[in-house]
Symmetry: C2
Subunit: 192 residues, 2 copies
DNA sequence: CGAGCGCTTGATTGAGTTCAAAAATCGTGG
DNA sequence: CCACGATTTTTGAACTCAATCAAGCGCTCG
């Protein structure tokens, strides 16, 4: 499982085998069976998850019991409730596995330890965080201005692999529409 | 104008008068007249703006020419295109003044200089950034799950002062609805 | 003081929801 | 490996919330 992480990091930052060994020690590998809930709303998040196989998601449950998916995390993505993890506040959302998955989990102090091993490690983590922020901004812009169909097309452009392996009702939940609407949109799109 | 910043910082971090003097030197005060555009989509953002008087906003213009407001920044708020500023990439949005305003503008290297003056300065800036991220997440959740009326009520709870001084069509633009709809929602809300 | 902008109100339209039921797919145990 | 039950997806019909189009009112500011 660590080799997935190694390949991922190669694209972001340079490091020696020794350094990577030290980084590997910051992670605990774990198999997660489909459906397992790793974090519940209200709990304090203790881990950051790097997904090496399968797929996780984060989501909220609204007052009517409806799920709204915030993020999908397939291979090479990380996921957690950043705010809860860093400030040790109650989490805003749930995290669970939507496929049989394998993750590398890291602790709250990961960032400091990572920076101690790799001088630009802090820089890199910050960049990743900025990217998340930018993605979230784009999503707001999309929700404000684009139709359901446009948002769907945007989604499959952005997450082509996720779009194929995830149940449609979850994509609908991510887009903020009903599964019925997504089904109809897909029919329209197929007939151009 | 610097005393507004001083009061603001007092609530976040402790510092001596000397330190504050050094911080003040990182900022350039500027009067901005209503309607002035400080950043355009596609430009590279060079400044972070801390608002000491008036109100700025950031917004995108979609393919149909419609504006969608991302953020309001009244007194004691900062605003910029973080991503553009830090990575020197083209900005995603516009920033302009919706009232006669006064701002303190800081350069790209502000964070390092600020950290050099105040040991926990970097920590503080990071916390502010995390808060922005959390706010953006909440907005996504709201857009996914709440009705226009619920979003409006949420808005006036979160920005009671902004709700009173900003034109309604801009609030509508922030909420992702038309001015007509907002007008009707307000009528409904008034009659309970 | 008039032109233009912002807000309101009304009538109509339309995108997406809800409810219901059938069709397709998945997963599990025998 | 098949069969059966459960879940997911599709389809249809009625409905609803918000958008669009259009007109009128009231400011303000030039």
């Amino acid at each position: 499982m660590l080799d997935v992480l190694k390949d991922y990091l190669r694209g972001k930052i340079s490091f020696t085998d020794e350094q990577f060994k030290a980084i590997g020690d910051l992670y605990t590998p774990k198999k997660i069976s489909k459906g397992t809930i790793l974090l519940r709303e209200g709990e304090v998040c203790q881990h950051n998850f790097f997904v090496t196989r399968g797929c996780l998601r984060s989501y909220v449950v609204d007052k009517n019991g409806k799920e709204h998916i915030i993020q999908f995390a397939p291979e090479n993505w990380w996921i957690s409730d950043q705010n809860s993890l860093l400030k040790q506040e109650p989490a805003m959302f749930f995290i669970d596995a939507i496929e049989e998955s394998e993750v590398l989990l890291s602790e709250r102090d990961f960032n400091e330890k990572f920076s101690a091993i790799l001088p630009n490690g802090g820089q890199m983590m910050q960049t990743l965080f900025h990217n998340s922020f930018k993605a979230m901004q784009k999503r707001v812009i999309n929700l404000l201005g684009a139709s359901a169909e446009e948002r769907y097309l945007e989604f499959i452009k952005l997450y082509p692999t996720v779009a194929l392996r995830v149940p449609q009702k979850m994509i609908a939940s991510y887009l903020g529409i009903t599964p019925e609407s997504l089904s109809r949109i897909r029919k329209d799109v197929a007939h151009q």
